[in-house]
Subunit: 152 residues, 2 copies
């Protein structure tokens, strides 16, 4: 699944976490910022101006649940949200798909399953630099986020 | 009004465009990307997880109106949205304020009031590089956006 996004250049949104009525949440393939996720609109739409009220309300609930999920597990300092779709326009014809990047940001390093996560850009914009973590640790992270998300 | 944001380093959100029940819209001081605006939550809040349903619904309406406003005036190719707050954390204590950056992006250059606007980063993330335009042209731009926004 390629969506032409600078944060998704690996060509997949990542590992499935949760599905609501209108959105699907994935754990992003790149974990430069621990707990980075992608929220993808289920229907095919290019611009946010065409979202309806139900989709916004649903999105708002997922924003809360996801920030709170990460807060409970890793206590990030803050959360970055963005809907860009820029790199979709490097292709012709462009077919951007609405998806949000949820990027937790950390003032202090976090050690998870023996792996150290530092936020090398803290205080600045997130950079589209890929950090792939071992599959075993990714699955462990996925499990923790899924479990915490569901009980909220 | 300083809010500690890499896109707002001039220290002001910009020129007032419109006020809804929960948000205020400004024309951003930097016009590197023609029509860049900032949407600021009126109440004091640090994280999006604490927005309520009414604030999300109101935000969704403003997103539509603002994208449509710019579409009618300058026909941007796409729109970038972000809520970052990173540079607030370069200070201690940090006091981020919820605000969204609305950044229209252009595949083709636009000439407005004799000034040429090219999108030097088209296809890529927006860069926090300041471009100040002459006051007279800024006010003309502000007027056009205000008028179009109100009739939508």
């Amino acid at each position: 699944m390629s969506n032409g996004c600078e944060f998704c250049e690996i060509g997949t949104y990542g590992d499935y976490i949760y599905e609501s009525d209108y959105w699907t949440i994935f754990l992003a393939p790149s974990q430069r910022y621990l707990g980075t996720c992608v929220l993808v609109l289920k229907r095919d739409l290019n611009d946010l101006m065409n979202l309806n009220t139900e989709e916004w309300v649903d999105f708002g609930k997922l924003v809360s649940k996801l920030e709170l999920t990460l807060k409970k597990i890793f206590k990030p300092t803050l959360y970055n949200w963005s809907c860009f779709k820029n790199s979709a326009f490097r292709s012709n014809p462009a077919n951007p798909q609405i998806h949000w990047h949820f990027i937790p940001r950390y003032q202090k390093k976090v050690v998870f399953s023996g792996l150290t996560f530092e936020d090398p850009d803290f205080g600045y914009m997130p950079q589209p630099v890929t950090r792939i973590i071992p599959k075993k640790i990714r699955y462990k992270l996925l499990d923790q986020i899924k479990k915490q998300f569901i009980i909220l």
